[in-house]
Each structure stands twice: as structure tokens, then as C-alpha cells.
């Protein structure tokens, strides 16, 4: 059993623990690899492919967020092949999704020389803002399908399973059982999905209302009414059960 793996990344010798991903190994050597879907506390699924790197001997590019290091591996993180893939992915994303509130992705676009109008007449994934609860809004026009919200709602954190995917291919979206409003699902409004969303597709409702130009007082009264209504509903639902106990 070896306690250290020797590889080279961009020509630099790197020594890391076995089982480490190329992404982490590169970071340990001070080499940054771009990522969109990856999150330190979520299961890595190798979706965005922005983290692909060239590995000597591999037929295709390799997703560094999941690929493990191996002895003697030769990794190149910024070859022309890699840059072409990253740039094209970013250009496709920019014509698909509203990235106006995703500064990290915009920075990548500048870094890789990606044009935001590379694909004329391209269909955008448009979806109206879903405002169905007092806690947060869902603006799937901004969703890059990183899967983080679905994962934290399930086995990565909360085990609530309120959301999953709908459609498939380009038409994939995040949704609930038969598109029900969130209060009618198993959602417990823990807010973890909002916390891991990288593009502001999920946003706290107060922040959203502030951005819409509502004053803090208005927002207070708006959400207070909603909170009261909800408390009344819950009280009404619990009453028979409580009555039975006493």
C-alpha cells in the first residue's frame, strides 16, 4: 500500500494521498481548475464538464472532479483541446441560461474568451418565476442544472425529496410532483437549496422583493400576511387531533 501518489500536473511533480481527485490534487499544487456544478459538500456528478483536463493516454478529456489520481499520471489542465471544450460549454450556457446573476461564470467567460452571442437564433430555456411560498422564489430561467438543490434536498443533506427533475435533454428542469406549489410538497423550507444555488435561480423572497423595489415595510407586511395565513391553516389542520387527545 503506497501512502503517496506521484503524478505531474502541467509538468509540475505533485505528491498526494491515494484516492484524491485530480481537482483536489491540482488545488494542492496551486493550480486552479474551473468548475460550475462542483460543490465541496455535495456529491460530485461530473455534469458541467468545465473541469475536464487532458490525461496522457486517455481517449477523451477527463472530468477532474471525479477522476482519481494514479501513479505516474500526466495531467494537463490548460491545453488547446481543454480550452476549446471549456469555451464552447460556456458559450452554449450563455445562450441557454440567464447568467446575469452568476458572476463566477461571467468571470470564466472572460478568462476563456467565450462570446455570449456565439450561437445566433439559439433557443433559451425560459421559465416564468415561480413565487408559490413566503420563503423563496424559483427562477428557472437562471438554472444551470448543477443538481445541487436536488441533492441537498435528498441524500446529500435533508432527505426531504421535495424536488427532482422534469423533462429531459435540453428541456430538463427542476420540479415538484406534478408541478405542485412547494407548500403542497414535502418541502420543509430549510433553505439549503437556496444556499447552494450558484446562479440565484433560487433566491430568498425578501431579497427578491427588495430587488423588485418594495420597501422593507411593505415586505414585512406582505410576508407577515402570508405567515399568519399559514399559521391559521396549520392550527385549523391540527385542531381535531388536539381535540381528540384532551
Amino acid at each position: 500500500m503506497t501512502d503517496s501518489i506521484n503524478l505531474t500536473i502541467d509538468g509540475n511533480p505533485v505528491h498526494v494521498a491515494p484516492g484524491m481527485t485530480i481537482l483536489k490534487a491540482a488545488a494542492s499544487a496551486g493550480i486552479e481548475i474551473p468548475t460550475i456544478c462542483y460543490h465541496d459538500y455535495c456529491t460530485a456528478n461530473a455534469l458541467c464538464r468545465l473541469c475536464v483536463v487532458e490525461v496522457e493516454g486517455a481517449r477523451t478529456l477527463v472530468p477532474s472532479c471525479v477522476a482519481k489520481v494514479s501513479e505516474g499520471m500526466q495531467v494537463s489542465t490548460h491545453t488547446e483541446r481543454v480550452k476549446r471544450a471549456r469555451r464552447t460549454i460556456l458559450e452554449m450556457l450563455a445562450t441557454t441560461v440567464d447568467l446575469s446573476e452568476a458572476p463566477d461564470i461571467q468571470a470564466y467567460m472572460r478568462e476563456y474568451g467565450a462570446q455570449d452571442e456565439r450561437f445566433p437564433e439559439a433557443e433559451q430555456r425560459f421559465s416564468p418565476v415561480l413565487d408559490d411560498n413566503p420563503m423563496y422564489i424559483r427562477d428557472y430561467s437562471k438554472c444551470v442544472l448543477c443538481w445541487r438543490c436536488v441533492q441537498v434536498c435528498a441524500e446529500d443533506a435533508q432527505y426531504t425529496h421535495a424536488i427532482n427533475f422534469t423533462g429531459r435533454g435540453f428541456e430538463t428542469q427542476i420540479g415538484t410532483f406534478f408541478d405542485k406549489p412547494l407548500p403542497e410538497t414535502t418541502c420543509v423550507f430549510c433553505g439549503q437549496c437556496v444556499a447552494v444555488c450558484p446562479t440565484n435561480a433560487l433566491k430568498p423572497k425578501r431579497q427578491w422583493l427588495l430587488e423588485q423595489g418594495h420597501s422593507p415595510d411593505e415586505i414585512m407586511s406582505l410576508t407577515r400576511t402570508e405567515r399568519r395565513r399559514r399559521m391559521r391553516r396549520e392550527a385549523a389542520a391540527e385542531q381535531p387531533a388536539t381535540g381528540g387527545k384532551s
Binding site: N45, R49, L61, A85, T88, F119
Partner: protein, 582 residues
């Protein structure tokens, strides 16, 4: 709308409920048969019975094209829109069907009871233009009357089979299903008897020695796969037959299952014995309903006769097969997506490694083989690996099935030894080009393939010769185009196919198939923009190089091959978007 009677569903849920999530697709199929679609309360009851999150149930319903979450017509007609059928006039058939439905609806003869939908390749390419009417295949729809079609009087298609040899297709193309008796009369199940007298190691060694490689398109050495699973210490292992045949132009597995189902079962049973598995799955695409029923009957026959079950043929070997239906998703032919589907999930391919031989179905070591791969097994055991290797070439031993469709006189399934020329297959076996027409090109390997042209006519059909010629063998699909065909139109259909069938998991394919389709639309409409060729190349390279699975990695293959052969087709025809011709 009538009230949903959940009581109808109870027997199904009582039976499937204890299995948990893996029974999701069978439960949804059963529900849809009862209610015509999957209403919300039914989906909720299914989720509760299988103890799974409702959001996940919905995610699965919405993933598969053959599940409906809203009421649909009583009769759904699927018209194939992919190359072989479109060239035979499928678009016209679709139009006429839609007009007829409308006319009869206005006359009050039918009330929204018929719905016509465009479908991806139905695997009936030798009968183009083909339809499915409520799951029942209809050949040459352009020659049948509307009344015959909707009354169910349309004749069912029988396979067209030929070739230089018939080692795999001995019982095929005879216009009948080979039942257990017929199969045994032709020597069927003798190889299983032989196998059970051998050690599992000896069988694996024989398959390795035969040089058999997978026939589903990836050409991985079958014996190596088996050896890895056989060597595993895991007590539970699985074997899976991949019959999710959906590559446009491919119909070989359909023909084999339709005409000689027991040969597939025998191959799978021997495989299970060799690797030490006691449970097998046979996953067949949702559109192959007729073939599903044929397999169901064959499995029952085999079980009855003691070829499946406990102590098979008096040995100590126990094994059984569970038959599973897909529900309209090309991606489920990808092996790990197929596992996900059996496990009751959306058909998302998994990240590899780990590979199926260590972490396959339900996380257990799994052998997954294509139908054609498995039917080679009884043959190898029957004649021995040495005689098997006498067929074909040194590097591509054995027989191979080719699906020839398109503009040839006799589209059909042809069995040849590896190494015959493309010209021999096309001219001598499939009858050559239709009278008065010239060869323009042929698509090798289906939608995920590449184009062959005049200079390739004498290429030998073997893995090594085709690799040298830069052509894929794929699963043995060849679609032929005469000089009248528009390549832009063919490419548009392939682009549509991939945009429709991408699962949406990884970014390059999820967005790349859509962008590729949009550009191919401009090209087909003769209004390509400056830079469109480069856009196609960037998208194509990115999908090929950076996609997660084989679908994305080959989704640009045919387009890139067309750009190399006919660069002029992709030149700009206008200078600015939406501005009309410049």
C-alpha cells in the same frame, strides 16, 4: 373526467409493492394499461406502495417518452421520422394520417380517440415506412389503406433475412416464431447441456479463445468481461441482456427475438452459469411490445421445461430471468443508464469508473451483453472456439449480422462472416441500388456513425479494415442513400434524434445536441450563417471530447464526417441572422 378508481390498481401494487423502487417501471406500465395514462392520484399511490419520494416518481414518468401524465387518445399511432422511413415517405404518411384523423373527427366517426405522433426509429427499417399502432408494428404503411390501418387489419411485418451463412439466423426469416420444440429440433439448448458439464472457468476460457467481442457497438472483448465478474468474490452477481435496441437503422435484435427467442435465453443462461449469477434481467425497449410478448412466452416455456428455475437440467445450478420493458428512451441502451432504469430511476448514465464488472446493477458485479453477443455463445460452445475462429478474419472472428436499409432493392438483415466487402453486402445480398439509381453514400453505425462514399465500396467489413478506413462498425447498421437524397435533410433528422434523446445530464450533450440541431436546421433550410461550420465543429468536438457517456461522445460523429466529405454543404448562404439571403 371520470373519477379515478384506485381499487383497480391494488392487485398490481400488492404484487409489486414489496419489491420497492426497482418495480417502478413495471408498475407505471401496468398503471398506464389500466387508466390509459398515469393520473396524479395513481402516481401517488404507486410512490407510496413502492416507498419512494413522489417527486422522484414524477421525474421518472416525465423522463420516458412512452409514459403519459395527461390523458391521451385511446389509440396512439407512432410514425417513424428517422432516415430509412423518411426516405420511404414517412412524412407523407404522417400528414395523411393526421388529415384522416381530422376528417373522421369532423364527421363524428371518431372523437379524439386517435393521436398521431412522430417517433424515433422504431427498428422496423426493412419495412419502411413503418408505424406502431398502439404498440403493434405496421410495415409499409404507404401501401395500406387507412381503414385497414385503424381497424387493426393491417398485416404484421415478417422479417427479411438473408446472407452467406445462417449460423445465428438459422431459425430466422421463416415467417414464424420458433417455439421451444422448434428450437430444440434445431439443436437448441444442446449447448447449455454441454456447458453445464463443463467448469465455469472452462466456458469463460472458451469464449475468450473464440475472440468474441461485444456486438452492441463498443466491441469490448466478451470473455474479458465475463472473467472479471467470474473472478469476483461478491456472493451476488447479475447478468443482463441489453435488448434496448434503438440506434436508427438497427433492427437485428428485434429480428432475432421475434423469430428465435430461445437462442437469446440460452446465451444468457450459459453466461450466468459461467460467471456464477443466479438472477438475470432482459431489458427490451418499450417500443418492442410484440417482441416483449414473444420473449415473455419463451421464458415461460423455458421455465416449464426446466431450462430456467432451480436445478437446471438436473444440475445444481439455479437461475431465472426477469423481463423488463423500457419506456421510450434511447439513452437506456447505454449500459449504466439501463441499470438505472431497472433500478426505477431516470435513465441517467453513471460516471465510469467504476465499471459494471465491479459496480453494476444494484451495485453488484454485472455482465451486460447485447442480444447478438449472447446468441454467439451457444454457437461457440457447439462448434468450439477453434472452428468459430475459422469464420471471419483473424482480428474479427465469427459471424456478424448487418442491418441494411435505405435505397437498396432488398432491405433486410444479412448474416455474413466478418471480412466480406461492403460491395458484396450491398450488391449481391441486398440486391444493389434500386433500378435507375446510383449510390451516393451510406451511413455506417447509425445516427452515431459516419458516412461511407464511393471510394469505400470495397472496404472489408471487419473491425480492423473499417478502423483503417475511418468508419465505425457500430452495431452493424448500414443505411444506403441514392443520388436523389439530400444529405442536409438526413443530417437534420439525425440532429433531431439526438436533441430528442439526450438525457440532459452533462452540459456538452444537453446543450450541444440542441445547438447542433438548430444549426443543422439553418443548413437544411439553405440559410447557413457565416461561421456555422466552425460552430458545428466546436460543438462537435466538445461533445465528442467532453461528454459523460457514449451518446454525447458520438452525437456529432455523423455531422463531423459529413463536414469532412462535403464541406461545401456547410458554407454560409446568408450574412446575418433572420435577414433572409444576403
Amino acid at each position: 373526467m371520470a373519477e379515478i378508481d384506485l381499487a383497480l390498481l391494488q392487485p398490481v401494487l400488492a404484487e409489486l409493492g414489496p419489491q420497492g423502487r426497482t418495480a417502478l417501471l413495471p408498475a407505471l406500465h401496468a398503471a398506464q394499461e389500466l387508466y390509459g395514462y398515469i393520473p396524479e392520484p395513481v402516481a401517488a399511490a404507486v410512490g407510496q406502495a413502492l416507498r419512494m419520494p413522489l417527486a422522484d416518481v414524477y421525474g421518472v414518468i416525465d423522463f420516458y417518452a412512452l409514459f403519459y401524465r395527461e390523458p391521451v387518445a385511446k389509440t396512439v399511432i407512432h410514425v417513424c421520422g428517422d432516415p430509412a422511413c423518411s426516405m420511404a415517405g414517412a412524412d407523407g404518411v404522417m400528414k395523411v394520417m393526421a388529415q384522416q384523423v381530422e376528417r373522421h373527427r369532423i364527421q363524428g366517426q371518431i372523437q379524439d380517440t386517435i393521436k398521431v405522433e412522430r417517433a424515433p426509429c422504431l427498428g422496423l427499417c426493412e419495412h419502411a415506412p413503418a408505424l406502431l399502432i398502439q404498440g403493434a408494428p405496421v410495415p409499409k404503411a404507404d401501401t395500406q389503406s387507412w381503414e385497414d390501418l385503424v381497424s387493426g387489419k393491417a398485416q404484421r411485418p415478417y422479417s427479411v433475412v438473408g446472407g452467406d451463412i445462417n449460423l445465428l439466423t438459422f431459425n430466422c426469416g421463416k415467417g414464424r416464431i420458433t417455439n421451444l420444440d422448434g428450437y430444440r429440433k434445431s439443436g437448441g439448448y444442446d449447448s447449455l447441456r454441454k456447458a453445464l458439464a463443463l467448469s465455469p472457468d472452462a466456458i469463460v476460457a472458451e469464449v475468450k479463445a473464440a475472440g468474441l467481442v461485444g456486438r452492441g457497438g463498443a466491441a469490448f472483448p466478451t470473455g474479458v468481461k465475463w472473467e472479471a465478474v467470474a473472478a469476483s468474490n461478491e456472493p451476488v452477481k447479475h447478468v443482463v441482456c441489453n435488448a434496448d435496441e434503438a440506434e436508427p437503422g438497427t433492427f437485428k435484435d428485434r429480428v432475432v427475438i421475434e423469430d428465435d427467442p430461445h437462442r437469446v435465453l440460452e446465451g444468457l443462461i450459459i453466461c450466468a452459469f459461467a460467471v456464477g449469477a443466479h438472477k438475470g434481467y432482459l431489458y427490451i425497449r418499450g417500443e418492442y411490445n410484440l417482441q416483449y410478448l414473444i420473449l415473455k412466452a419463451a421464458i415461460a416455456e423455458a421455465r416449464q421445461a426446466g431450462f430456467l428455475g432451480t436445478n437446471i437440467l438436473g444440475s445444481s445450478f439455479d437461475f431465472d430471468i426477469e423481463l423488463r420493458r423500457g419506456a421510450g428512451a434511447y439513452i437506456c441502451g447505454e449500459e449504466t443508464a439501463l441499470f438505472e432504469s431497472i433500478e426505477g430511476k431516470r435513465g441517467f448514465p453513471r460516471v465510469k469508473p467504476p465499471f459494471p464488472t465491479t459496480h453494476g446493477l444494484f451495485g453488484k458485479p454485472t455482465v451486460i451483453n447485447n442480444v447478438e453477443t449472447l446468441i454467439n455463445i451457444p454457437l461457440i460452445l457447439k462448434v468450439g472456439s477453434a472452428a468459430y475462429r475459422h469464420l471471419g478474419t483473424q482480428k474479427s472472428p465469427g459471424p456478424k449480422l448487418f442491418c441494411v436499409s435505405g435505397d437498396v432493392v432488398r432491405p433486410g438483415l444479412y448474416e455474413v462472416p466478418f471480412g466480406v466487402t461492403f460491395r458484396h453486402l450491398m450488391d449481391d445480398l441486398a440486391g444493389g441500388m434500386r433500378p435507375g439509381h446510383k449510390f451516393q453514400a451510406a451511413l455506417f453505425g447509425g445516427a452515431a456513425g459516419a458516412f461511407a462514399v464511393e471510394k469505400d465500396l470495397d472496404v472489408r467489413l471487419s473491425f480492423e479494415d473499417l478502423r483503417a478506413a475511418g468508419l465505425p462498425l457500430g452495431s452493424g447498421v448500414i443505411t444506403v442513400f441514392d443520388e436523389t437524397r439530400s444529405m442536409q435533410d438526413i443530417l437534420l433528422r439525425l440532429g433531431h434524434f439526438f436533441a430528442d434523446e439526450s438525457c440532459g445530464k452533462c452540459y456538452p450533450c444537453q446543450m450541444g445536441t440542441q445547438r447542433q440541431y438548430e444549426i443543422l436546421q439553418r443548413i437544411a433550410e439553405n440559410r447557413a450563417l457565416p461561421g456555422d461550420k466552425d460552430r458545428l465543429l466546436d460543438v462537435g468536438w466538445t461533445m465528442t471530447d467532453a461528454s459523460l457517456c457514449g451518446l454525447g461522445q458520438t452525437a456529432a460523429s455523423a455531422v463531423m464526417s459529413a463536414i469532412r466529405l462535403w464541406p461545401e454543404l456547410f458554407e454560409a448562404r446568408q450574412t446575418t441572422p433572420e435577414g433572409g439571403p444576403a
